[in-house]
């Protein structure tokens, strides 16, 4: 029974007893237990990553009105394993003139930068890796390591198309980091802390509300910026197969390409997890505080839902051109995100001590008013453009 209510502590104490029973020093057994936990956790994430390959292929198939893999195992669930085996057995071609060290380091850093993120994510009220008090900035830092790995990959491939794809991808990723960080500031304002554990607790314990109800526009901005950060459709001009032939992936084959691909899927799932943790209450659900394993299940379910929304957007919307992408970011999303931050900060501070229902209503109303103002501004601008075009046509017709 105690295992169900605090699994990590029970396992830790049992292992401590075993190791000190073999007369190991205290700090050695602590270190070994930490290492075992880390290796176990990362292995679980990699298995989840492999499962995500199957999820992605099944979901895209259903969106495109076909069946997807269904031969290997029931519902094709063992399909990723032949995929992985195929990738391992393929020859690893390094093009001539390629810079060896960055060429090999780039896929490692790319997958590594996603794995680093799972250290700070709280899976349940008492299951988490590290309660880092700057977890949100750590998220941005891991993203910047990913950006660096893309430049390394593009540069080291010694290939015009790879370099061009890498430049565009990096310009895209760094541009969309600004609205993403500003959208990350919104849960920080609402919860008063950068730590993910504190943010999820603020949404779950003693009458907290899920932040998606308090700031739906913030959740939307974070989702859009996250999809752009991932480099997925509709923002995937950088790996458009028909335009610049896979961008910075071109010269990679075999397991290195597999690491890039797996890293991208895992990154998408991780962002689904972050949307769940930041806006949908993380592990919060009925009876999640007494049974942390149930909380972990809720978290994975919500992360899967976030991942499904990201996939839904990918397989529905056509690709956007690069100048439209960057104009959308700098001229629309960044000012909107900053305006939302200002409004959220002021309204949150003003409504700090009022009862919960009034607080939620007030914040939601402020979001709605902001959306309405934005739509009005866009509509006025569209009207101006239409009138300018009409008058130009009239002037040309004379």
């Amino acid at each position: 029974m105690e295992f169900l209510s605090d699994p990590i502590k029970v396992i830790y104490e049992w292992l401590m007893l075993t190791f000190t029973g073999w007369s190991w020093a205290g700090w050695v057994s602590s270190l070994v237990i930490n290492l075992l936990a880390i290796v176990g956790f990362i292995s679980a994430i990699m298995v989840l990553d492999i499962l995500l390959v199957w999820v992605e292929r099944k979901v895209v198939a259903r969106f495109q009105d076909r069946l997807g893999p269904n031969r290997v195992g029931p519902f094709g669930i063992f399909q990723p394993f032949p995929d992985i085996i195929k990738l391992i057995l393929k020859e690893d071609i390094t093009p001539e003139g390629a810079d060896r060290v960055p060429f090999n380091l780039a896929p490692i850093l790319s997958l590594g930068s996603v794995l680093f993120l799972w250290a700070v994510v709280p899976l349940a009220s008492r299951i988490y890796g590290v309660d880092l008090n700057v977890a949100l900035l750590y998220l941005v830092a891991a993203g910047s390591i990913g950006t660096l790995s893309i430049i390394m990959a593009g540069w080291a491939s010694n290939n015009k198309y790879a370099l061009l794809g890498a430049y565009r991808m990096v310009a895209n990723m760094i541009s969309y980091e600004i609205p993403m960080v500003v959208a990350l500031l919104i849960p920080t304002v609402l919860a008063g802390s950068m730590s993910l554990k504190t943010i999820t607790e603020a949404q779950s314990t003693n009458g907290g509300v899920w932040f998606v109800l308090v700031s739906p526009l913030g959740a939307l901005i974070f989702l859009i910026a996250a999809i752009a950060e991932l480099g997925r459709s509709p923002f995937d001009l950088n790996e458009g197969e028909s335009e610049i032939v896979s961008g910075y992936h071109i010269e990679y084959s075999g397991m290195k390409f597999g690491l890039f691909y797996a890293g991208e899927l895992l990154h998408a799932f991780t962002f689904g997890g972050f949307v769940a943790a930041l806006f949908f209450g993380g592990w919060h659900g009925p009876w999640a505080e007494q049974y942390p394993l149930l909380g972990a299940f809720y978290f994975v379910a919500k992360a899967m839902f976030g991942y499904w929304v990201i996939m839904w957007v990918k397989y529905t919307v056509p690709r956007i051109r690069i100048d439209h992408m960057l104009a959308f970011n700098w001229k629309f999303l960044t000012p909107l995100a900053f305006a939302l931050l200002m409004v959220t900060a002021v309204v949150h501070r003003v409504l700090l001590d009022v009862p919960t229902w009034l607080y939620v209503a007030g914040m939601f109303l402020s979001n709605v008013i902001l959306v309405w103002i934005t739509v009005e501004v866009l509509r006025a601008q569209a009207r101006r453009e239409r009138e300018a075009k009409a008058s130009a046509q009239l002037a040309a017709a004379d």
């Binding site: 008090n133 700057v134 900035l137 750590y138 941005v140 830092a141 910047s144 950006t147 660096l148 540069w155």
Partner: protein, 166 residues
């Protein structure tokens, strides 16, 4: 030798070796990548001193923005990224003498300072919350906070002006 000292020596060695490689390697893009390694070592040093916010900010701003800017600038301006001039010129013994004596002078001066031991200070309370409250409270650093935004604005306007003049 405590674990902290071991980590400090390893990190210091990483930083020094990376910094040496930045200035001696002939390939400019390699120099930028060694610079990234140096900056990461500095971030590890910040983390070992319990300055968690500064460690993460170091990675975000230095590696995520400034190193990327360096790499873009290097790739923009140089057609041929291999440096072919000789590494040292004729005056290198005098330069080495000045550098070593400056280093010896610095070590001596720092050793004379009152708290120059190898232990870090014990941190009370929550430094991150104290930092955030100090940054915005009127009898601490709020003026510096606002002036920082004006400085960033000046940097932005200046860069755009220079870029526009061409």
């Amino acid at each position: 030798m405590t674990a902290e000292q071991i980590i400090f020596f390893l990190t210091g060695a990483l930083i020094l070796v990376s910094a040496l490689m930045v200035v001696t390697t002939r390939n400019l893009v390699h120099a930028a990548l060694w610079l990234v390694s140096t900056l990461f070592g500095v971030a590890v040093l910040f983390a070992s001193l319990d300055a968690t916010f500064l460690a993460v900010v170091q990675v975000v701003v230095y590696i995520g923005a400034i190193a990327i800017l360096f790499i873009f600038a290097v790739m923009l301006t140089r057609r041929n990224l291999l440096d072919k001039v000789p590494q040292t010129n004729a005056g290198w013994p005098w330069a080495a003498l000045v550098a070593i004596s400056a280093f010896a002078g610095l070590v001596f001066l720092v050793g004379q300072m009152p708290n120059a031991g190898a232990q870090k200070n014990v941190v009370f309370g929550d430094p991150l919350m104290a930092l955030s409250m100090a940054l915005v409270s009127p009898d601490a650093y709020v003026l510096a906070f606002e002036v920082a935004s004006i400085m960033l604005l000046a940097a932005l306007v200046g860069a755009v002006y220079i870029a526009n003049r061409k």
